[in-house]
């Protein structure tokens, strides 16, 4: 069954590769040949794998997680091939890093000068963000009607956030609705950017980067070179794509009260407003231009909390308080059910409330009280999974920082590099700051950071499960039999 799904995923990637080929043809670039080669290879292998019909059409949570983890690794390998073949990125590990960074919507780059790259390469870079934002398996669910139940196990493994609610009874319809909302918002953004005077190609790439909360730009200076109108547009859309998509569905269903009553969304907007205010105050120390400070503060806050990673200024040179706030925002991340990464606002709020609850229990040891989210009590099992998520997050984070520090960079670089990759943001501080890139890391560190990105995007467990031996035990025993 897992192989069958991988086959489907590969054929879908092949179909998606048609777009950069078209872009290449429009601009008459020779590099599009390599996309065509990858497309054919991936498509043929995918079709071959699909013909191996599974003996059992159902799959359980384990299979769902493993299929998701493997799918993401496979699409990253395939997606890296055009970069490598075309010579845009001569080192394969670097090419893979760039692709993983794309699909996981991180936006951490190892490329020094993006402006010399051909259009089809740039397009593919940004397009990986768009695909990765909502998830390739959600896309799979939307286009293929699978027999048997348990599709939720795929969606659960891939969607950001602690709990996955369906909008409508069927997983397929839910997936279609999500993609329709996603596409509609992206198209709206492209239109506004074009109206704001941005060239069409750059608008499309920027919109893809924003929609997936990725952050690959088509300019070395990211968004800094564009007009204030465009910067504000990108700011607003970044924040919009960081909102739980359920809210949009509720708005579409004209249930405005419920949509705006979502506690997570309120916290999310609240955190954004407060941080912007503090940073604007802090920036007065370095510059007096209020309008400009507000714009760059809003842009950077939106970019970091939604884990997009675009930048308009080099925030590495900001005062210490502002920098620290941005690093904290990296960990908070966007809302569950959005395209953003990070720990997710709902988890933070849940843990915060659980903490308050614990304090309450110190004062009234015998009181019966449960933390609530959206008015519903958080039961012990979901609380437990949130806390375990935190524990895993910290362990993975610490181990990664230790391995990366073998390279000998300074602590801030290592710390923020891991933070920016595991939270799928992109730029960190110091040597990996907004105007720098990740090219300085060794291959080992790049592999670790890639795994961090995948782990962060897939909410840790689907990836961690691949490295847990008992996952594979049952399989081998079956074969032996």
């Amino acid at each position: 069954m897992i192989v069958y799904i991988l086959g489907h995923v590969m054929t879908i990637v092949a179909v998606l590769l048609v777009l950069p080929v078209i872009v290449g043809l429009i601009y008459g670039e020779a590099e599009c040949v390599w996309f065509l080669v990858t497309l054919l290879g991936s498509g043929l292998i995918g079709l071959a794998l699909r013909s191996l019909k599974p003996d059992e059409p159902v799959f359980y949570l384990k299979e769902g997680c493993v299929a998701t983890g493997l799918s993401w690794i496979v699409i990253s390998l395939i997606g890296a091939l055009p970069f490598y073949f075309s010579g845009a990125i001569p080192n394969f590990i670097n090419a893979l890093f760039e692709t993983v960074s794309g699909f996981t919507t991180t936006g951490a780059s190892i490329i020094d000068d993006v402006e010399i790259l051909p259009h089809c390469i740039l397009f593919w870079r940004s397009f990986t963000h768009w695909i990765g934002g909502m998830g390739i398996l959600v896309f799979l669910l939307a286009v293929i009607s699978m027999t048997g139940g348990s599709q939720m196990n795929l969606m659960r493994a891939e969607s950001p956030g602690p709990s996955v609610g369906k909008l409508v009874p069927k997983a397929r319809h839910t997936a279609i609705i999500l993609y329709v909302i996603y596409t509609a918002l992206t198209v709206a953004m492209i239109l506004i950017l074009v109206l704001g005077g941005m060239p069409f190609f750059e608008s499309v790439c920027t919109a893809f980067g924003t929609a997936g909360t990725g952050g690959f730009g088509v300019k070395n200076s990211s968004i800094a070179g564009y007009s204030p109108f465009i910067q504000w547009t990108v700011t607003v859309f970044m924040i919009l794509f960081g909102v739980n998509f359920n809210a949009y569905y509720l708005i579409l269903m004209k249930k405005f009260k419920q949509a705006f009553g979502m506690e997570e969304v309120r916290w999310y907007l609240g955190i954004i407003l407060v941080t912007i205010a503090v940073i604007v105050l802090d920036l007065r120390k370095v510059s007096a231009a209020f309008g400009e400070n507000l714009r760059s503060a809003a842009f950077q806050v939106g970019s970091i909390i939604t884990t997009t990673g675009f930048s308009t200024v080099n925030f590495d040179s900001w005062p210490s308080l502002s920098k620290t706030l941005l690093v904290v925002l990296m960990f908070i991340g966007a809302c569950a059910g959005s395209t953003g990464g990070g720990v997710k606002v709902s988890r933070i709020v849940a843990v915060f409330k659980a903490g308050l609850n614990e304090l309450h229990l110190y004062v009234h040891p015998k009181s019966v009280r449960k933390p609530r989210l959206d008015g519903k009590p958080l039961d012990d099992s979901s609380m437990r999974s949130i806390l375990i998520y935190f524990a895993f997050f910290i362990i993975i984070f610490a181990v990664s920082v230790i391995i990366v520090s073998i390279d000998g960079q300074d602590l801030i670089t290592n710390f923020t590099a891991v933070a920016a990759t595991i939270n799928n943001i992109g730029p960190g501080l110091s040597l990996v700051g907004p105007i720098k890139n990740y090219g300085l890391f060794s291959d080992l560190s790049q592999v670790v950071l890639m795994l961090d990105m995948l782990a962060g995007r897939l909410e840790l467990f689907p990836l961690v499960l691949l490295f847990y031996p008992p996952t594979w035990m049952g399989k081998s025993r079956k074969i032996a039999k």
């Binding site: 139940g149 196990n153 329709v180």
Partner: protein, 462 residues
């Protein structure tokens, strides 16, 4: 609006199922397989979680009778609500609330004997589409099997005009190893329509040969079924003495029917209070207060001489053990009720005789209704039965004026290969059709097919 379209796209109906017990889960599984959009509601989060993990359905935790929970489940856009919680009153309230808010059809489970006589009244007054009573349905089925002891199962069509009878062909019988068309007079009034052999289900034609050990299904009128069994040497002595273990609702419904039919009924029930109640409700039955799984008690009460033995305790395992014991020591016809456990393969191999599953009886009735709802105006499904573990279906269609089907002799009708027209009920008279008969408007037609999912009479054409 886009979202509306997306929310209700596809061909499935929007169905809300309240209560996820045995029956609720079975209905969810069955309707999910039919491709509908299903939302389940239950107070127990763990059960809802299990269902949403196993099937692609939406789950909501809460009280299904509450207005806000129903709104959350999308009652405004629902086509059907099915209330099958443990409480009759809650089920009725669920449907009543749903009727006020949405424009959906409503099906409620009501099984308390107190309401049994008032069901038509309740149904009409509350505007419900259907009220189901699994225990009563199961009791009806058991009563039919008990009166035709050679059969493994008996299901009625056309308001009892025709019956679908399932039996196992014993070794060395006269009709073994002969082609159906060579049986002549023997099968004149019956129609073999499905045969299970070594795990495969066949739709037989004239050249089909029956073998010993086959589980065969035929359609016939009740009288014709009895005389067919007589003529092939499977004489069925008249069942007189019926022993029932356990005095629950199903036992009550069954005992009441059997006493009306003039059988001597003996019920063994362990609760003294329930015995008193039963004694009051069915004075003509013998009520024994004792433990039904006590070997000595069973022997003392004459299990050896009983003609039929029906264990109806709440524990499936106990029912199975009791049946196995009864088959060991007596020649009684046994009917085993299985509520909960699922190992159907194991149960089939156990030689239990007839087995009745109340939860499937319920889901069959609901599927028949749901399919009929999607069918065209001129044709509808009256009854539907799953045969052989849902690998075949027997469907009774009500037929209006349909071009290409009505008034055409059957020999010119090109039906599907995996389908057989078993019976036509013409003006209250069930006939086994030959090539020259035709279907007229207003008839009901029974077809048996291994192609599951037929909705419309037109679907029978190849």
């Amino acid at each position: 609006m886009l979202a509306d379209k997306l929310g209700s796209n596809g061909s499935g109906l929007n169905i809300i199922i309240v209560g996820t017990g045995k029956v609720g889960a079975t209905i969810t599984a069955a309707l999910y397989r039919e491709g509908h959009d299903i939302t389940v509601i239950d107070k127990n989060a763990a059960i809802v979680q299990t269902l949403t993990n196993n099937y692609d359905v939406m789950g909501i935790v809460g009280n299904g009778a509450s207005y806000s929970v129903q709104m959350e489940a999308g009652i405004e856009k629902a086509d059907l609500i099915i209330a099958v919680t443990g409480s009759d009153e809650l089920n009725l309230l669920c449907c009543t609330v749903a009727k006020q808010v949405g424009h959906c059809d409503a099906i409620a489970r009501v099984r308390n004997p107190d309401y049994a006589d008032e069901i038509p009244y309740l149904r009409e007054r509350l505007g419900l589409t259907m009220i189901i009573n699994p225990e009563l349905e199961a009791a009806n089925e058991i009563a039919r099997i008990v009166s035709l002891p050679r059969a493994l199962g008996v299901s009625p069509f056309a308001k009892g005009q025709a019956e679908l009878v399932r039996f196992r062909l014993p070794e060395g019988n006269a009709i073994c190893d002969k082609k159906l068309m060579d049986l002549g007079e023997l099968v004149k009034n019956i129609r073999f329509c499905a045969v299970e052999r070594e795990g495969e289900v066949y739709i037989p034609d004239g050249s089909f040969t029956l073998r010993a050990g086959d589980t065969a299904t035929f359609v016939a009128s009740a009288d014709a079924a009895v005389s067919f069994f007589d003529s092939i040497g499977l004489k069925s002595g008249n069942v007189k003495r019926v022993m029932i273990i356990g005095g629950g609702k199903a036992a009550y419904y069954l005992a009441k029917q059997l006493t009306v039919m003039g059988k001597a009924v003996k019920i063994i029930e362990s609760s003294r209070a329930r015995c008193d109640e039963l004694e009051n409700l069915i004075p003509s039955a013998i009520i024994i207060n004792g433990n039904g799984s006590d070997e000595d008690l069973l022997n003392e009460e004459g299990l050896r001489d009983a003609d039929a033995f029906v264990p109806l305790t709440g524990l499936d395992e106990e029912n199975i053990l009791l049946t196995l014991y009864a088959r060991e020591i007596s020649a009684a016809k046994t009917v085993t009720k299985i509520n909960r456990i699922n190992f159907r393969n194991v149960i089939q191999n156990l030689d239990l005789g007839s087995v009745v599953y109340p939860k499937y009886v319920t889901s069959e009735a609901i599927i028949a209704y749901v399919r009929a709802k999607k069918a065209s105006k001129e044709s509808g499904i009256e009854t539907l039965y799953h045969l052989y573990d849902s690998r075949a279906e027997a469907i009774e269609f009500k037929v209006g004026e349909v071009d290409g089907i009505t008034n055409i002799p059957l020999k010119y009708l090109h039906t599907r290969n995996d389908l057989i027209i078993a019976s036509i009920n013409h003006r209250g008279q069930a006939i086994i059709p030959g090539g020259n008969d035709c279907i007229s408007a207003g008839d009901t037609v029974v077809v048996v097919t291994t192609c599951t999912g037929l909705k419309d009479i037109r679907d029978i054409l190849g």
